[in-house]
């Protein structure tokens, strides 16, 4: 698919599919908003040491529970301090690292597991399909929050354990969607053609199937990343996820909960940031689906 540069040719052929895709993407407000916010938060996470005004772990008993600047605080601590006198803005900034890292790696692990299962089920069918469908059913029957909490409690709540547990639990949507898309693609003539000319199975999977299910995969990656971030926050809120003093947004809500009566901002600020991040990722995922599969839009 080469871009048509010659004006005469452009008149004959019209805009190329890639140009159409770009035009659709740029006119999709949700997608643009989501991408900008996610990109900003990724930058914040990467540049955390530069951006954070204070050490997120430094406690100071002299300056505990300073209110944010818009509630009568000072610019020394723009978003105030928590019950241990730690700068709230700095903890929020480092918290972006925790959320994004857990979301990205958990989505990657579950993506690899779910895609392998789904593509195998969709392409080979028969017994493989039956086994994969059964495993999906088993996984869906397990209450995620409960199992994740129990496993984290048994193995101890470290960042690695939380990431692995979420990665091993959230593959179901990948498997369901990849199975359906692969089933659809493998009935196409070009797959039959590749089989007829004697291409090996791995070659067909890699060069014929994967590129054609890739768009769907990206959409699920974003949605599951949002899912993983929300679950990590919930686990940490319940005290069985990321452990203190690591700055996790869910943990910050949980720590602020006891002082909610007098200092509601301790709960409101980290929750709002979490909401905005998850909303942005979801809008990005929904937008990508609209843009890459315009025929499926309702």
């Amino acid at each position: 698919m080469t871009d048509v540069m010659d004006p005469l040719a452009a008149e004959i052929h019209g805009p190329s599919p890639r140009q159409l895709l770009k035009a659709r993407a740029l006119s999709h407000k949700g997608l643009i908003f989501g991408m900008v916010v996610v990109l900003l938060l990724v930058l914040v996470a990467i540049l955390a040491p530069v951006l954070a005004p204070h050490d997120p772990y430094a406690q100071s008993l002299m300056t505990r529970m300073v209110p944010p600047v818009f509630m009568g605080g000072s610019w020394e601590h723009p978003l105030g301090t928590d019950h241990l006198g730690r700068d709230y803005l700095s903890r929020l900034i480092y918290g972006a690292r925790v959320s994004l890292m857990i979301g990205a790696i958990a989505a990657l692990i579950s993506g690899v597991i779910g895609t392998a299962m789904g593509v195998a089920a969709g392409y080979f069918g028969g017994k493989v399909d039956a086994v994969v469908t059964f495993l999906i059913n088993v996984r869906l029957a397990m209450p995620v929050v409960l199992v994740a909490l129990a496993v984290v409690a048994i193995l101890g709540g470290s960042l690695t354990v939380v990431i692995c547990v979420l990665g091993l639990l959230l593959w179901d949507r990948f498997a369901v969607v990849m199975r359906a898309s692969t089933l659809q693609i493998s009935r196409r003539d070009y797959v039959a053609a590749a089989q007829v000319i004697g291409a090996s199975t791995p070659r067909i999977l890699l060069t014929e199937i994967m590129p054609n299910v890739f768009n769907n995969l990206i959409v699920i990656v974003t949605l599951e990343m949002a899912h993983a971030i929300l679950l990590e926050a919930a686990l940490s809120f319940l005290g069985l996820g990321v452990q203190p003093p690591t700055p996790s947004w869910g943990l910050m809500v949980s720590e602020g909960k006891n002082m909610m009566l007098f200092e509601p901002w301790l709960v409101l600020i980290p929750g709002a940031v979490l909401f905005v991040l998850v909303l942005a990722i979801n809008l990005m995922g929904d937008g990508l689906r609209d843009v890459t599969a315009p025929e499926g839009r309702s």
Binding site: F134, N137, V138, L140, A141, M142, P143, V144, V145, L146, V147, L149, A150, V151, A153, I154, L155, A226, L230, A233, A234, F237, L238, G239, L240, G250, V253, K257, M260, L261, P264, V267, L268, G271, L274, F275, V278, L279, N282, L283, D286, S298
Partner: protein
């Protein structure tokens, strides 16, 4: 139809059996369950005694078979913490969780179905956009945070509702909203899509052509057909919600099965945790089975699947 039911029943039983094995093996995830139970300060003899007392010295499969057969008789062993039979402990707490789950799904249906219908009648109208926004926001809202905000506003600032506990029906209002809000987006989207689909079909055109009133067309002809998949989705969501009630129950200090799960996990009370995972899974399996059967009964095309 009967073949379909038996096939699905067999599958459901197999899934249940696998889930039971997974929840049982959690006990062995920590390595040595006897050492975990005895604690870090226990001597080697104490650990040995505990191992023999709970039968941890036997092969895992033997222990699993024994646990499974007792579980089938409704005996899940004794809670390490409460020193009470796990089964009665859970049965007692399930009332709160079932009430909450039922209220939650009713709340979701009562709000999401009308919104979905209106959105489908007037696509791209203000209500459609508001409904779409609510469903996108709903998926991004951390439920524990939403619950805390409701507490701050309605219990602390306004003083209209009690912040926590389960004594009266007023205690259930906020938890119902938080739990139900979680199921709303999916129900709303499915109602909207189903209605749009049905409204464009031939029999609706025929109904309109023969002069049926618009209300009659919408409710008697269209909604009846669009609601079928929504009902089975609601059953599946109900299964999910019972599992998700753990967060809501801990925010509002509702002493239901979810709260029990949270307490038991924090206290390392494994027999209770195992039983709860199994019970919550069973609810999901039963609800999805019922949804499948309902679907197949209403729509014979589904029976071949």
């Amino acid at each position: 139809m009967l073949t379909f039911i038996f096939k699905r029943l067999g599958l459901a039983l197999l899934v249940a059996l696998t889930v039971s094995f997974i929840s049982f093996s959690l006990l062995f995830l920590s390595g040595d369950p006897a050492a975990a139970l005895a604690g870090e300060t226990a001597s080697g003899e104490d650990v040995e005694a505990l191992r023999r007392l709970y039968g941890f010295d036997r092969p895992m499969l033997v222990q699993y078979a024994e646990w499974l057969f007792s579980a089938l008789r409704g005996d899940f062993g004794e809670s390490y913490y409460f020193k009470l039979p796990v089964a009665s402990l859970i049965a007692e707490r399930l009332q709160v969780t079932m009430t909450l789950g039922l209220c939650g799904i009713l709340f979701a249906l009562v709000t999401a179905v009308p919104l979905g219908v209106i959105a489908a009648i007037r696509p791209n109208s203000l209500i459609d956009r508001v409904a779409l926004f609510l469903s996108v926001a709903g998926q991004a809202m951390p439920s524990f945070w939403f619950g805390l905000i409701l507490i701050v506003v309605f219990a602390i600032q306004l003083g209209w509702l009690p912040p926590s506990g389960a004594a009266t029906w007023r205690h259930f209002i906020m938890p119902t909203i938080v739990l139900g809000y979680y199921a709303m987006p999916a129900i709303m989207r499915l109602t909207r899509a189903g209605m749009l689909d049905v409204l464009n079909s031939d029999f609706i055109r025929t109904a309109r052509a023969k002069g049926a009133g618009e209300t009659r067309v919408l409710f008697k002809h269209a909604l009846r057909n669009a609601i079928i998949p929504v009902v089975s989705l609601a059953a599946v969501q109900m299964g999910f919600m019972l599992g998700g009630s753990i967060v809501v129950e801990s925010v509002f200090a509702l002493h239901g099965a979810g709260y029990l799960a949270w307490e038991s996990i924090a206290r390392n009370d494994l027999p209770t945790v195992q039983a709860l995972i199994l019970v919550f899974s069973m609810f999901y399996i039963v609800f999805t089975f019922l949804a499948d059967v309902l679907n197949a009964w209403l729509d014979p095309r589904m029976r071949s699947a």
